[in-house]
């Protein structure tokens, strides 16, 4: 038992929670935006891969870290645009298109990466984001290092949660986005074109996914390697259901998830006799459990996965 308390009492563990949560927060916000406007985006896994690769490659070829983040956001928006084009005006199956985007974006990322870095036994590295200490606040014992000794993109992700909540619930644009996810006919009837609204929102959401991927290569690790996303994108899709499509709860879900992940990582090192694979399964199993718990309770956007065509009902 005391081992558990040691882990739970350690600053490192709690500091890791926010770090692990950051890509999940960004990805989950991205999925949330897309689904709020009525489109499932299973391209996330590939878009995060591309964000991770292009962000890293930008920095590796001499760009600074924020240029890398911007490149990842733009790359994400680009694939988001492709997904939007296929699912919104053409109304293709969002499931299959999203998977196609994931397969395309990830294989494209590997292709570009291999072109840029033809052969290497150990992946080349970049100088990643360093933790920023918030003056004064980071001196608070325990809480200080946990909350205020993080990298800049982590703070950005937290700001984005609040910003997105504000946009969705306090601005006319957010109302239109939510309305388009509930009933695009209603948006159209009020003179807003739901097609463009959806395309734009999906691009914005996908940009966030791209940044989530870039966080992995530019802050959490310092290199890129294939299959590094490891299903984080799919976990984000599950977290959105868990969060009932609300930004605040998405943050909570990501933190909870990251807590379990950080916990199991530390537990692995101290608990003997339990195979490490069981610990590694935990995030995926937890995501499934979260889906089961919330499946009946969640208030799904009514028009999710329903393509909109004028005059067709």
């Amino acid at each position: 038992m005391s081992v558990l308390f040691d882990i739970l009492g350690s600053v490192g563990m709690w500091e890791a929670v926010l770090r692990i949560a950051t890509p999940l927060i960004l990805g989950t916000l991205g999925v949330l935006l897309c689904e709020r406007v009525g489109v499932l985006n299973l391209g996330i896994e590939g878009i995060m891969t591309f964000g991770a690769m292009i962000g890293w490659l930008t920095v590796y070829s001499g760009g600074d870290l924020w240029t890398g983040m911007v490149a990842a956001a733009l790359g994400g928006a680009m694939f988001g645009f492709l997904h939007a084009l296929l699912t919104v005006p053409l109304g293709l199956s969002q499931h299959v298109t999203g998977l196609g985007i994931t397969l395309f974006a990830s294989s494209f990322s590997y292709y570009v990466f291999r072109l840029a870095i033809p052969t290497s036994s150990s992946p080349p590295t970049v100088e990643p984001f360093r933790p920023l200490e918030v003056p004064v606040l980071s001196d608070i014992p325990f809480v200080g290092p946990v909350l205020f000794h993080q990298t800049a993109p982590t703070y950005l992700a937290l700001v984005l949660v609040a910003l997105l909540a504000w946009v969705l619930y306090r601005t006319p644009l957010g109302l239109a986005i939510r309305m388009a996810g509930e009933n695009p006919h209603a948006v159209d009837a009020q003179g807003i074109d739901p097609i463009w609204l959806r395309i734009g929102t999906i691009m914005a959401g996908s940009a966030l996914m791209g940044m989530g991927g870039a966080f992995l290569t530019l802050a959490a690790f310092n290199s890129f390697f294939p299959t590094m996303i490891q299903g984080r994108g799919w976990i984000c899709v599950a977290l959105v259901v868990f969060a009932s499509w609300r930004p605040g709860r998405a943050l909570l879900g990501a933190l909870l998830f990251a807590f379990f992940d950080a916990f199991q990582l530390r537990l692995q090192t101290v608990v003997e006799g339990v195979p490490y694979q069981l610990f590694l399964m935990l995030p995926y199993v937890l995501s499934i459990v979260a889906l089961i718990v919330m499946a009946r309770r969640a208030s799904v956007p009514q028009a999710l996965m329903q393509p909109y065509r004028r005059g067709e009902r």
Partner: protein
């Protein structure tokens, strides 16, 4: 009078189909114009062009003397045109205020002014007598309230011209009446209205002028005071259509009996202790406002659900297994409420749609392998015998018109020679000619000794076809009255749940027998 709206020479084609051809009409301030026509006459297309959802191939729209740019609903809204859609364009999970305010502020504003929005909404609802709670979720509202929200949405956009597409399609008689009273009051506030309808009585009672549309063209225009139902009916249909008359009934043994049936949580509304008897050679008509349990009752008899309590007897035997194959095997023929969503699968072939519900029968499969030859032959026979136009055995059923789709459904059901026929809303959405055909088939089935359970919201239809009429209210069934005693007032009372008069009549009728 000032002319507020003018459509001239509007033509719109979809592929080979011409939806509107050279349509011109106008609207004066303070006027109510009814746009009358059958399904598919081009009414909704015309109004969608006016509202900028479609672009006309020819012709133009002028609002208060200004040309309206085509294809921009935003421009129509700004010019003061408001549209109340037949299928409400509302988001059930959002509040009334959310629904009304969407798209009314510049999108990029950093903060929505909800206080001002709320004030304006409350003011409007008071001015026009449209009471709603701004903070209620739309999903909690009744259909009538939803319609009020739709109208308020238009008014909130400062609409001076209001277009209502089939506004009473989902309302009860009482709600419809109060709607028209409200509309009348609006015209005195300077609004001008067009409402789309195919119901003659409401056109006669609520409009100043009627424009009749047939096959996409304006075929007549009349001042309401100078015309009558009969003339309008003929103008609308293009010929005289006689619905078949009901010969006297010769009721036989009880074929279907429900004893104290109850069911909740399935098919929408619950049933609470429903009992009824259906005899051979008679039609039992069930009327009611939608959402009172008729869908559930039809589903229960059709084998979709099992009751929570009570017994269903077919031919005197209690039904043990409540599922579709058993229902069909027991001789129950089923005409579903929704042809497109329930009765057919649009992307499957006509023959597959015809035999799917009987695919287990040895006629259509053996040892799990479909007997395609037999299935197609049977389908071809139905297409021929029931005059299903435009159908081919291997073609997809999606391409059929509503009337022909219903003919195919009638064919597949009646060819099996059912003893009991459950017909739910059999003529909903059909034009007059097709309705007459459906009625003929239902009477034919009754004539050869089947019991027909007719569930319909069309009172004229129920009165014309039924031997006894019940109302279903909140999952309970009223006493039955003979159709000769039915009148609008009595049926209205029955549907509203006041059953004293009906009970007296039933007692009287059972005495006479």
């Amino acid at each position: 009078m000032t002319r507020v709206l003018e459509l001239s020479g509007i033509t719109k084609r979809f592929g080979h189909v011409t939806a509107n051809e050279d349509v011109s009409l106008h609207l004066d301030r303070g006027e109510i114009v009814a746009l009358l026509g059958e399904n598919g006459a081009g009414k909704t297309t015309l109004m969608s062009i006016l509202f900028g959802h479609y672009t006309a191939d020819e012709g133009h729209v002028r609002v208060e003397g200004q040309d309206l740019p085509p294809g921009k609903s935003r421009a129509a809204i700004r010019a003061g045109v408001g549209m109340v859609h037949q299928h409400f364009a509302l988001a059930p999970n959002l509040t009334v205020l959310d629904n009304v305010m969407t798209g009314t502020e510049p999108l990029w504003k950093l903060r929505s002014n909800r206080a001002a929005g709320r004030r304006k909404l409350v003011e409007l609802s008071q001015t026009f007598g449209l009471k709603v709670d701004p903070d209620a979720r739309v999903s909690e509202l009744s259909v009538g309230e939803c319609q009020r929200v739709e109208i308020l949405k238009a008014l909130y956009n400062d609409a001076r011209i209001l277009i209502l597409d089939e506004p009473t399609a989902v309302l009860t008689a009482q709600e419809a009446e109060s709607l028209f009273a409200t509309l009348r009051q609006m015209t005195s506030n300077g609004l001008s209205l067009i409402f789309i309808s195919h119901k003659l009585h409401e056109v006669m009672s609520a409009s100043d002028r009627v424009v009749v549309l047939r096959h996409g063209r304006v075929v007549a225009e009349r001042r309401t005071a100078e015309t009558n139902k009969e003339e309008l009916a003929e103008l609308m249909v293009g010929r005289k259509v006689e619905r078949p008359a009901r010969p006297p009934a010769t009721p036989g043994k009880v074929l279907l009996e429900g004893i104290d049936l109850s069911l909740s949580g399935k098919g929408g509304a619950s049933l609470h202790g429903i009992s009824f008897r259906l005899r051979a050679g008679e039609t039992l008509g069930i009327i009611g406002v939608s959402g009172n349990g008729q869908t559930t009752l039809a589903g229960l008899v059709s084998g979709l659900y099992a009751p929570d309590g009570g017994t269903l007897l077919v031919d005197g035997q209690p039904v043990q297994v409540h599922d579709v194959p058993h229902a069909i095997a027991a001789g129950i023929g089923r005409i579903p409420e929704d042809r497109n969503a329930e009765g057919t699968i649009g992307d499957m072939a006509t023959w597959e749609n015809t035999v799917l519900e009987r695919i287990w029968s040895p006629a259509f499969s053996s040892r799990g392998v479909v007997r395609r030859g037999a299935a197609r032959a049977a389908t071809q026979a139905i297409i021929d015998r029931y005059d299903v136009r435009g159908a081919s055995v291997d073609g997809r059923i999606r391409l059929l018109s509503g009337g022909n789709m219903q003919k195919l459904i009638l064919g597949r059901v009646l060819e099996a020679g059912p003893d009991i026929l459950v017909a739910a809303q059999p003529s909903r959405g059909l034009d007059e000619g097709a309705i007459a055909g459906v009625h003929e088939r239902l009477l034919e089935a009754r004539g050869r000794g089947a019991g027909v359970l007719l569930i319909s919201e069309d009172l004229d239809e129920v009165v014309a076809l039924s031997d006894r009429i019940c109302a279903i209210v909140n999952g309970r069934l009223s006493p039955a009255i003979p159709p000769e005693r039915a009148n609008a007032q009595l049926l209205g009372l029955m549907m509203a749940g006041d059953w004293t008069a009906a009970a007296a009549i039933e007692a009287e009728a059972s005495h006479a027998v």
